[in-house]
């Protein structure tokens, strides 16, 4: 069996088990991979003999320790590559995923680690001063919500403007803002803006003072 095919199988089994909280059966695995069931059956026999997989009664496929390790490592590689391709290089996410499927078999662990660090660093730069977010973000959590929002931030608005809150970037500050009523869709008005960018925003009848860097994390739409 080709090494890349073996890795694809292990990745798929691991992914399936994570997602569905139970290991797949032949037909389920075949459906996921879009392959004939008979082919999967014979391939599984090879994997059993290479010690990656063990079969349970009823056609349930479980990973051995070795198989699980490989599967997880491939998933990590896939996610890191996909994140790199889509977020840093700006490819669209479906072709990034396809490309990642090919690359994941050839890339070394060290490359993946360095890519992961690069992504975290880039993310940190993007959110200057928002260290917590940068650190928390493992490569598996390349969440779209933080990147695809192109709306202006509340700090771009002028004193007296009315806005509708659209999104909040960065997780460090998000909780308190949510508690104060700054949820997507909520109306807010800017009561005061100091020359340095600090804001007093009125939301739900309460005045809330925000530092400039917090304000820049709140994406809004202007409303009349």
């Amino acid at each position: 069996m080709l090494p890349s095919l073996r890795e694809d199988y292990l990745e798929a089994i691991q992914q399936f088990s994570e997602k569905n909280a139970h290991p797949p059966r032949y037909e389920e695995l075949a459906a996921v991979l879009g392959k004939p069931e008979s082919g999967v059956r014979s391939d599984m026999e090879d994997l059993v003999s290479s010690g990656d997989v063990s079969m349970l009664p009823g056609g349930v496929i479980t990973l051995t320790g070795q198989g699980k390790q490989t599967g997880e490592s491939v998933i990590k590689k896939h996610e890191t590559l996909q994140c790199f391709l889509s977020e840093i290089l700006g490819m669209d996410s479906s072709s990034a995923s396809e490309e990642a499927c090919t690359l994941e078999h050839a890339v070394s662990d060290e490359t993946i680690d360095r890519l992961g660090q690069l992504i975290v660093k880039q993310d940190g730069l993007r959110h200057r001063g928002w260290g917590r977010h940068g650190r928390q973000m493992s490569t598996t959590q390349c969440t779209e919500e933080d990147f695809d929002c192109q709306c202006p931030s509340i700090s771009d608005c002028a004193e007296g403007e009315n806005v509708i809150i659209h999104c909040i970037h960065g997780r460090a500050c998000a909780k308190r803002l949510l508690d104060l009523g700054m949820v997507p869709g909520e109306r807010a008005s800017i009561k005061r803006k100091l020359p340095n960018g600090a804001l007093v925003v009125q939301v739900k009848g309460c005045d809330v003072a925000l530092s400039p860097e917090i304000a820049s994390a709140i994406g809004v739409e202007r409303s009349s």
């Binding site: 650190r135 998000a174 909780k175 739900k204 809330v208």
Partner: protein, 616 residues
């Protein structure tokens, strides 16, 4: 019977609490936290009722010390009845917390406070509608006028019940809650917390984490956001149908003055300056009075007793410590606290934080840090205690360094007594100047090297209102009590220790040991080291010891101006006092306490040596 008051910050909980309990309040430190719980007892219909004032919070899901404390309190069923206090003028936002509280299903009543303010704004609240929505008894009160406060207890005892209100969450969340309940038997409130990543049950957290991830991917929104939005939507619906906007009376908006750069910033500086000035003037007047009385009526009679020397030494040390505590704690710190409580209760402090945000950023902090810094001018001990309002450890660490360097009122005494009196008032100001420059330099360096993330300011501006004398006094009294309980024992023990050292001649040996530093490096007389050592115990003692050891109160006749100046600046910068070190240790741990002590000793000696060299 135990009743707990719960609500957002600034809804008038404390005022209600004070009116219910009178001034007989105890402060209990909740186990394992530095947050204070105020408790008071009342007698109602021959039954003893304990009332607890929980700290003001915005949410029960968060990770701040206050939020965790209140959450634990509710989880453990800490009170028989919860009195949820809501602000009538901000009902919608306040209901958000209420929806969370009901999830813990305590017996509860809702008190909608500040109804006078709401009437002023033309808001009309329909009690029956609100009560039927919430499924609990609703009472309208105006604590500032004392209106209907007396009805709280009878209602809390008679008609508190578990609220029927339940937030309808997004169907994915509801499904997740159901499956978590079925598979793990987790109650709704626990599962909700677990979905947001909070809790202690590993199994539940893992299961909830997996579901939460799926929901997040599907909604492209964090579970927290979804849950918060659902709660806010329900609150909005309730508020919209229970509150009607009538005619609004036009009022002048003071914020148009206070929150602008001009005249806001000049006003801020003027207020802070006036606060410090009045503390200094009133404080020194009271200090003189207290110290004099104490000396005449207690210390002199004691020395006249003619006890055996060792006993006399110990007794004398205790008395000196008491005198120091009362002479400093009362005059300076109490006056300062009065002013501070006044600023807080008028709602000005949040404006100050807003205006100071940028300046504080340069120091690696943010707007809210102005509060501990200002307190630091009064006394370093409560300033360190107030550090917990800063959210990250990084900011707490930086602020702790700066606060330890800010000249507190005791150091003010040294500067005034040594430099202003014998060298000149302008030279005294130059010491302030040098210290401020050093503080700024320290901050700039620290903000670069301190690890950790910076958290910006998110502060709700509290409404401007007239402060209540009773509440201001009660607040100041509580704070001074806290100070007395922490600082007093340390003062007395250290005083006895130092007294014994002196008795057995240890201080002389110490003097000999550090003579190279005192005499050669700083150019001071040998006995100055003992005075500096006593300064660790309480700062202004450095000045008094110097006078005792030099044998005259006219310091100008035994030391040169340069020596006095160096002595003052070294003792101002040199090591925070022992009480400060103790609270630093408690608040931030041994490492930071030691670092700050070592840094300030180094800084004091270096600056002193440099000035000595320059003068030569």
């Amino acid at each position: 019977m135990k009743i707990a008051l719960l609500g957002n910050p600034g809804v008038g909980k404390s005022l209600i609490f004070n009116q219910l309990t009178g001034l007989g309040i105890e402060v209990n430190r909740y186990p394992g936290s530095s947050v204070c719980l105020e408790c008071g007892n009342v007698c109602y219909k021959k039954e003893k009722i304990e009332i607890v004032d929980l700290p003001g919070i915005y949410s029960l899901d968060g990770s701040s010390e206050e939020e965790i404390l209140v959450r634990k309190f509710l989880e453990q069923g800490g009170a028989d009845v919860i009195v949820a206090v809501l602000d009538a003028t901000k009902l919608e936002r306040n209901l958000y917390l209420f929806t969370q509280v009901t999830e813990f299903s305590p017996k509860i009543i809702a008190v909608v406070n500040m109804i006078d303010e709401a009437e002023h704004q033309g808001l009309i609240i329909d009690v029956d509608k609100l009560s039927s929505y919430l499924g609990v008894t609703v009472l309208l009160t105006a604590a500032s006028e004392g209106r209907d406060i007396d009805r709280i207890l009878p209602l809390a005892l008679g008609s508190a019940r578990i609220a029927t209100l339940q937030v309808p969450y997004d169907h994915h969340i509801e499904a997740a809650l159901k499956s978590l309940e079925k598979t793990l038997g987790a109650p709704r409130c626990k599962s909700l917390l677990a979905l947001q990543g909070t809790g202690e049950d590993r199994m539940l957290l893992d299961a909830a984490g997996a579901v939460a991830h799926e929901i997040e991917v599907r909604h492209r929104m964090s579970v927290r956001q979804i849950i918060a939005t659902n709660r806010h939507n329900l609150s909005r619906k309730i508020a919209a149908s229970a509150v009607r906007q009538g005619d609004r009376k036009k009022t002048y908006d003071l914020d148009s003055l206070l929150t602008r750069v001009f005249p806001g910033v000049p006003i801020l500086i003027a207020i802070l300056f006036f606060l410090l000035l009045s503390v200094f003037v009133i404080g020194s007047w009271m200090q003189e009075l207290i110290v004099q009385t104490f000396t005449t009526y207690i210390i002199l009679p004691f020395t006249a007793l003619d006890l055996p020397p060792l006993l006399e030494r110990i007794g004398f040390s205790v008395l000196i410590a008491l005198e120091a505590g009362l002479g400093i704690a009362f005059p300076f710190i109490f006056t300062f606290y009065l002013g501070l409580s006044l600023l807080e209760d008028t709602g000005y402090m949040t404006r100050a934080a807003f205006l100071a945000d940028r300046a504080m950023h340069r120091l690696g902090l943010h707007g809210e840090a102005i509060i501990p810094m200002v307190i630091g001018f009064g006394c370093t001990v409560p300033a360190v205690m107030s550090l917990r309002i800063l959210k990250t450890r990084r900011e707490q660490t930086i602020a702790a360094f700066l606060i330890s360097m800010i000249p507190c009122s005791a150091r003010m005494v040294v500067i005034a007594g040594v430099v202003a009196a014998f060298v000149g008032i302008l030279w005294a100001f130059s010491i302030y100047f040098i210290v401020f420059i050093l503080i700024i330099l320290t901050a700039v360096v620290l903000s670069r090297i301190t690890p950790g993330e910076q958290f910006g300011m998110i502060v709700e501006m509290s409404a401007l209102r007239r402060p209540q004398a009773r509440l201001v006094l009660a607040k100041s009294w509580l704070r001074i009590k806290e100070f007395l309980f922490i600082a007093m024992p340390i003062l007395i023990i250290t005083s006895i220790g130092l007294g014994l050292f002196q008795y057995f001649g240890v201080t002389d040996a110490f003097q000999q040991l550090v003579a190279p530093i005192t005499v050669t490096l700083l150019g001071l007389p040998e006995y100055a080291s003992t005075a500096l050592l006593f300064g660790i115990f309480r700062k202004e003692l450095a000045f008094e010891t110097l006078a005792v050891l030099s044998g005259t109160a006219d310091l100008g006749s035994v030391m040169t101006s340069a020596q006095l100046y160096i002595f003052a600046i070294v003792s101002v910068l040199f090591i925070p006092c022992i009480s400060t070190i103790a609270v630093l240790y408690r608040q931030l741990g041994a490492r930071i306490a030691i670092l700050i002590s070592v840094y300030t000793v180094f800084l004091g000696i270096t600056v002193g040596a440099i000035i000595n060299m320059l003068i030569k």
